[in-house]
């Protein structure tokens, strides 16, 4: 057994006793009842299960929870799909994040299974571009590089990529011309 404590969506979680060999996604689902992170392939291929890990140096990375054990996240700060929208004091959603918004506006998803992974990956991308803007001509290559590993079985990728492109162009400071 291991004892795990971490911060998820800015809330301190644990210490919780858990078995050593469980993967992070199982921990989220079974111990915390946080089921927004989806289990797709279970072998690190589809990236549906991606969450965000916020590093101490201010950078963030996307990490797959189906192939990474819970000990990788011990003591870390992470964000999951449940943490993006703003909530009121009763826990009701009052505002979606810009990434969530753009996906809805562009009808990017259908069944939504891949969406939490896309939201997290895009959020990491947008935050990175805030720190390190790119030239506007690079936009498609950069999106493809960031999202290229994410699999969507329903709507295809055009609407996702289009949505991300729109968001990047509409957000000040992410691109230079």
């Amino acid at each position: 057994m291991s004892t795990i404590a971490l911060s998820i969506n800015n809330k301190a979680i644990g210490p919780i006793e858990t078995s050593d060999d469980i993967m992070m996604i199982e921990f989220l689902h079974e111990h915390l009842n946080m089921t927004g992170t989806k289990f797709g392939c279970g072998v690190g291929v589809c990236h549906a299960c991606t969450v965000i890990v916020d590093n101490e140096d201010g950078t963030s990375e996307s990490v797959r929870t189906c192939i990474n054990g819970v000990s990788r996240f011990n003591g870390k700060k992470i964000r999951t799909i449940e943490g993006h929208a703003k909530e009121n004091e009763f826990g009701e959603i009052i505002k979606l994040s810009p990434v969530q918004e753009t996906f809805i506006e562009n009808f990017s998803f259908q069944c939504g299974w891949c969406t939490s992974g896309f939201v997290n990956e895009t959020t990491v991308l947008v935050e990175r571009l805030k720190l390190m803007p790119i030239h506007v001509s690079e936009i498609e290559t950069v999106i493809d590089k960031a999202l290229g590993d994410h699999i969507c079985r329903c709507t295809g990728y055009v609407k996702y990529y289009q949505a991300v492109k729109e968001l990047i162009l509409a957000t000040e400071g992410l691109t230079r011309s």
């Binding site: 291929v45 990474n68 054990g69 000990s71 011990n74």
Partner: protein, 410 residues
């Protein structure tokens, strides 16, 4: 009417003759096709977006970039204008009609081929589809860009003699040696290079860092120490995976394009030669020394590795190899253990039913302290190798791996 029996016999003979000659030619072409697979010619002489044998694949060497050439039967751009002698000179001496070849072309191994095999290869290449693709100019720095220098290099470093059987060894062993050292050109990666960048035969097959990974030590001593059986070697060379682990980095295309096509007899000869033993070798028992939960490597293993390699290192079929009995982690210097952690491993597909998913790269995720703890832990649990590597040793290996990434010619 009187029938002239002799005339009849003669005409029958005349009719049969071209057929026999054709059949013999076809057989030679077929044999050449098989030999070209053993030599893995197409893999280096084809680019992703090009036609087979059209050339153009870049090889980054410490001296600059060398591009493979068009070896299709095209008379203008390929080798269609070569005579058998031209072809033989290129294969044995590295001398093409246009001048000396750079030793990225492994004539330094192919010289061992018999005349008959060279002719078969020649007939085969002359039968390939002509590809209209112009050769690219190499991008080498002075003085290596002067081909004349290659004459001098060959004089000092190249011996173009044909394979000679070792009378103390079996026919099978000798066949294996012929394949492995000749067309297989295994030594080009697995034998360390000397100051002149020639294979250092005094350290034959002892391993060399190339393109970010170690072409392993494949001497019989090392393979037998690690507990490879003939069947394990047959599996890993034919299918890419085995009880003793998988191939990765530059060895994956070698298995895919070349070794997986070996006949049963040739594979048996190769494994006899590699283990220096014609008989099957008994498997050694698999090592699992048990976990040590107080070791900092344990949390790293469960956090980063166990998801795919299994909590006890049992692996997942068609996803990732087992660590139990895995030869990659059972080496005195853990270069390949570190190499896969830094570089990851690309997805491998051998057939519709066999393959492995990609392993992520941890270059930006694990620092040297973590790499050291994890490497020591893996050695402690699944090998008999000492698990007291220091961070500075690991840093040295990491630097060597990173430095070798650009130097990937053969």
């Amino acid at each position: 009417m009187k029938i002239n029996v002799n005339a009849l016999k003669l005409s029958a003979l005349l009719l049969a003759l071209p057929l026999t000659v054709n059949a013999a030619q076809d057989e030679l072409v077929e044999q050449g096709k098989y030999l070209a697979k053993l030599g893995d010619c197409t893999a280096c002489h084809t680019i992703d977006v090009g036609q087979a044998n059209g050339g153009g694949l870049p090889f980054t060497t410490p001296f600059g970039i060398v591009y493979s050439t068009n070896i299709s039967s095209d008379e203008e751009f390929g080798i269609g204008h070569y005579s058998l002698k031209d072809f033989t000179d290129a294969m044995r001496g590295g001398v093409a009609p246009k001048g000396n070849l750079y030793p990225a072309m492994p004539y330094t191994s192919y010289h061992l081929l018999t005349d008959q095999d060279i002719e078969a290869l020649y007939r085969y290449f002359m039968s390939t589809k002509p590809v209209k693709q112009e050769n690219r100019d190499n991008d080498l720095m002075f003085p290596t860009n002067i081909r004349m220098g290659l004459k001098a290099w060959n004089l000092v470093n190249h011996d173009s003699k044909v394979f000679e059987a070792n009378a103390d060894k079996s026919e099978k062993w000798n066949r294996g040696s012929y394949i492995v050292n000749g067309l297989g050109h295994c030594g080009e990666c697995h034998t360390p290079r000397d100051a002149m960048f020639a294979m250092d035969q005094s350290r034959h097959f002892e391993g060399e860092l190339i393109g970010g990974a170690m072409a392993s030590n494949i001497t019989p001593q090392e393979l037998n120490r690690q507990g490879w059986t003939k069947q394990d070697l047959d599996d890993v060379l034919r299918k890419g995976y085995s009880r003793k682990g998988t191939v990765f980095a530059g060895m994956y295309p070698v298995v895919f394009h070349s070794f997986s096509h070996l006949t049963k007899d040739d594979m048996s000869a190769v494994t006899s030669y590699l283990l220096d033993n014609d008989a099957e070798v008994a498997a050694k028992s698999d090592i699992f020394n048990g976990h040590d939960k107080s070791d900092p490597g344990y949390a790293l293993y469960t956090g980063f590795c166990a998801g795919c390699h299994g909590i006890d290192g049992e692996g997942k079929p068609n996803v990732s190899p087992a660590l139990i009995a895995n030869a990659t982690i059972d080496k005195a210097a853990p270069i390949n253990t570190l190499s896969v952690m830094l570089n990851g491993v690309e997805e491998q597909r051998y057939s519709h039913t066999h393959g492995f998913y990609a392993m992520p790269s941890y270059r930006d995720t694990l620092d040297v302290k973590q790499l050291t703890e994890l490497t020591n832990y893996i050695r402690k649990v699944w090998t008999k190798q000492p698990s007291d590597l220091t961070e500075s040793q690991v840093q040295d290996w990491v630097d060597q791996i990173e430095d070798s990434i650009a130097d990937a010619a053969h």
